[in-house]
Symmetry: none
C-alpha cells in the first residue's frame, strides 16, 4: 500500500518513503525498466549487463541495484512491465468479441513497440533456465491464451470461426505462429516485410475461417 500504483513490489527491503510521494521511486524504476528493455533488445539477454543498463539510463550501477535487488529481479520486472502493457491491450479488445480485431491489435501492438518482440523472445528463451521468470511468463501467457481461446470459442458459436478444431488448440496454433514469427523476424527481415506480415496474418485468419461451402454452413 505504500506503492499504490506499483503492481509488483518484488521483495525490496526498503519500504517506500513515508511522507513523500512515491512517484519518484516508481518513475525511476520505470525509467530503468525502459533502459533495460532497450539494452536487452539491442544486445540480447546474455549481453544485458547491469552496467549497460545503467549506462543507457545515464546512472550508476549502484542505482540499478538500489532499485532492483538483483539482476534476476530486474529481468522479471521487465517481463511484467511488458505483459502489463500487453494486458492493457487485451482488456481493450476482450469486450469486442472479435478475433480479427484481436489479431489486428496484436499486430499493431508489436509494431507500435518495436522492442516488444525482441525482448519477449529473449526472455521467453531464457526463462527455461530461470524458474522464477518462467512462472511469471507462464502465468501471464496463460492469461493471454485464455482470452484468445474465449474469443475463438465465441467466434465458433457465432459461426465466424471454424468449429472442427477445439478453440484451445486453435488458440495455441495462432499463438505459436506469432511466437515463431517473433523469433525469426529479426534476422530474416526480407521475409518479414510489412506487406508480407500482413499476408501471413490474413492467411492465418483464412485458416481459421469456416469454409465457404453450403455443406459446412454455420449453425442456426
Amino acid at each position: 500500500m505504500t506503492h499504490p500504483n506499483n503492481r509488483n513490489p518484488p521483495s525490496t527491503t526498503a519500504g517506500a518513503p513515508r511522507g513523500r510521494p512515491a512517484g519518484d521511486h516508481t518513475a525511476k524504476r520505470v525509467e530503468l525498466l525502459r533502459a533495460a528493455t532497450s539494452v536487452i533488445a539491442e544486445n540480447g539477454y546474455a549481453n544485458a549487463s547491469l552496467r549497460a543498463v545503467a549506462q543507457k539510463a545515464g546512472c550508476t550501477t549502484g542505482a540499478v541495484t538500489y532499485y532492483f535487488a538483483s539482476r534476476q529481479e530486474l529481468v522479471i520486472a521487465v517481463a511484467e512491465h511488458h505483459f502489463d502493457s500487453f494486458d492493457a491491450m487485451l482488456a481493450d479488445v476482450r469486450d469486442q468479441t472479435d478475433i480479427r480485431t484481436l489479431v489486428e491489435r496484436w499486430l499493431s501492438h508489436t509494431t507500435d513497440d518495436p522492442e516488444f518482440w525482441p525482448v519477449m523472445s529473449q526472455l521467453l528463451v531464457h526463462a527455461r533456465y530461470a524458474p522464477t521468470l518462467a512462472r511469471v511468463i507462464e502465468r501471464r501467457y496463460t492469461h493471454f491464451r485464455t482470452v484468445y481461446t474465449e474469443l475463438l470459442a465465441t467466434g465458433q458459436e457465432q459461426g465466424t470461426v471454424r468449429d472442427d478444431i477445439p478453440a484451445d488448440l486453435l488458440a495455441d496454433q495462432l499463438a505459436a505462429m506469432g511466437d515463431g514469427w517473433m523469433i525469426m523476424a529479426p534476422f530474416e527481415p526480407a521475409r518479414f516485410s510489412p506487406s508480407r506480415i500482413r499476408a501471413l496474418v490474413e492467411a492465418a485468419l483464412t485458416l481459421i475461417t469456416p469454409p465457404p461451402c453450403p455443406a459446412h454452413g454455420p449453425q442456426p
Copy 2:
C-alpha cells in the same frame, strides 16, 4: 600411476596422459559437439561456458579450444551439426511427396533427439546478436522451408492441401507453429504432453486440408 614418465605433474589429482593419443580428429570433434549440445540444452546458451562443455566431455578447456578456435566457432558447429541431422531426415522425406509424412517425421525427429528443440531455440534467439550464426541458420532454415513449400505445392496440385493460400505462406505458418511450440514447450510441459502435441499436429494438418465440401473440390 597413470603417467609414470610424466616428469612434472604440477598439482593435478589425476589428469589425463599428456602425449598423443590414438584419437580420431573427427570423432573427438563430434564428441565435443555432443557435449556442447547437452550443456546448451541443460543450462542455456548464456551459461554454456567452454569450461562446462569441457567438463561434460571429460577434458580440459584447452582441449575444447584446440578443436574449436573460439566459442563462436563451437556454437556454429553445433548448429551445423544439428541441421545436418535434420537435413538427413528431410532428404529422406522429400521423395515421398507427402506433407503428412514430413510433419510426422519432423515430430518424431524432435522426439528422438530431445535436445534438438532446446538447443535450436537457444541458438535461434541468440542468432540475432551473432551475425555469423544468423547467416548459417538463415541458409539452413531456408532450405527447410523450401522443402516444406515444395511438398505443400505438390499437395495443392494433388488436391490434398488447400489451395486458397499460397504454398509459401502455408509453409511459413507451419514452420512458425513448430518454432513457437519449440519455444514454449520446455517450460510448460503440461501443455505439451505427447498426446496434446499429437492433437496440435493433427489440428495443424486439418487446418491445411481442403474443406470436405463439394464446392471446393479438387481441380479435375
Copy 3:
C-alpha cells in the same frame, strides 16, 4: 575480523572490506601507476600482468581494471605519468639556456628515479607494436627533442656549442646516446658505474663543445 558484517566471505583468507572507502580517485590511480611502474621495471613489460600489478598494489585485479579500463590504458597512463615528471624537469631547465645544465638534470633525473630508464626502455621497445602508445611516446618525445634542440641552438649562438652540425642533428645524437645507454645499462652494470656514466656524459659534452683550436693542431 576485518569484515564483521560481510555476510558471505566466500573462501578468502583475509580480503579487504567491500563497501566504499574514503579513497581519493586520483591518489589511488597514482598508487596503481607506481605499482605498475615497479612491476614493469622488475619483470619487464611482457611479464607485467594486471595480476602482478594488483598484487604489488595490494589489491585485486578487479580494482586495477576499475581504474584502468584495459591493460593498454594502464600502460599508456604509466608512460604519460613518467613523461609528466620528465617534463616538469624540462620546464625547470628550459629557462636556464644551458645545455650542460640540461644534461646534468637529465642524468640526475634518471638517477633519482631508478625505475625511469628500465620502464622507459620497455615501453619504448614495446611501442613499436602498440600504435596508441607509440603516438603518445612520439608526442612527448618530440617535445623533449624540441627543448634539446632549442638549447643547443642557443648554445651555438652563444658559441658554447659547436656550430658545424645543425642543432637538430646534435639533439638527435645526444638523445640517441641517452636511449642507447638506457637500453644497455641494465644488464651491463659494470660498464655503467656512476663514475663511468659521468665520464661518458662529460665526453658527450666534449663532443659538442667547439674545438679549442690552435692547441689542437692538425696532424703534420
Copy 4:
C-alpha cells in the same frame, strides 16, 4: 664436431645422426630461426609465440620444440644467429683499419637486413629479464665494442680520430647512438628517412673527427 658448421649447438640432447649428413637438421634449424626472426620483428618479442613461428615456417609447433628444446633456447639461437652475421661483417671490416668503413658497413648491414634492428632491439630489452640471453648479448656485444674501440684507437694514432676522448668512450658513444636510433626509428619513420640517417651518420663522423682548427675559430 658432428656439426662442423654449426657454431653453437645449444644443449640439445640428441646427438646428430651418425652416418647421415647433418645438413638437413641444420638447414631446418636455420629455417626456423629465420621464421622466428620474422615473427619477432613483425609482432614483437611478447607476441612471438611458438605457434606463430611454426605457422610462419609452415610446420607444426611440435617441430619447433623438436628443434629447440624451449622457447628460451630458440630466442637465444636467434640472437646468436644474428650476431653471427654481424660478426662476419665485422671480421671483414676489421682488417681495413678504417672507422668510416666500419660505420658505413654497419649502416648497410642494417639496411640489407631490415629485420636486424627490430629483432635486436626486442632481444636487447628483453634480455634484462632473461639472464642467459643477457650473457649471450653481453659477450657478443663486448666483441663488437672491442673491434670498434680498436679501430678508433688506430684512428687516433693515425690522426683521423680526435684523441681528446679515450677510444673506449668514443666507442660506447657511437654504439649507443646506433642503439638509440634503432629503438626510435621504427615508430618515427619520418625522422629516419634514408637521407636523414645519412646526415646523422655523417654528423656522427664529424663529431669524432679532429677539428680542422684555425679555420674553425669564429669566436673572437
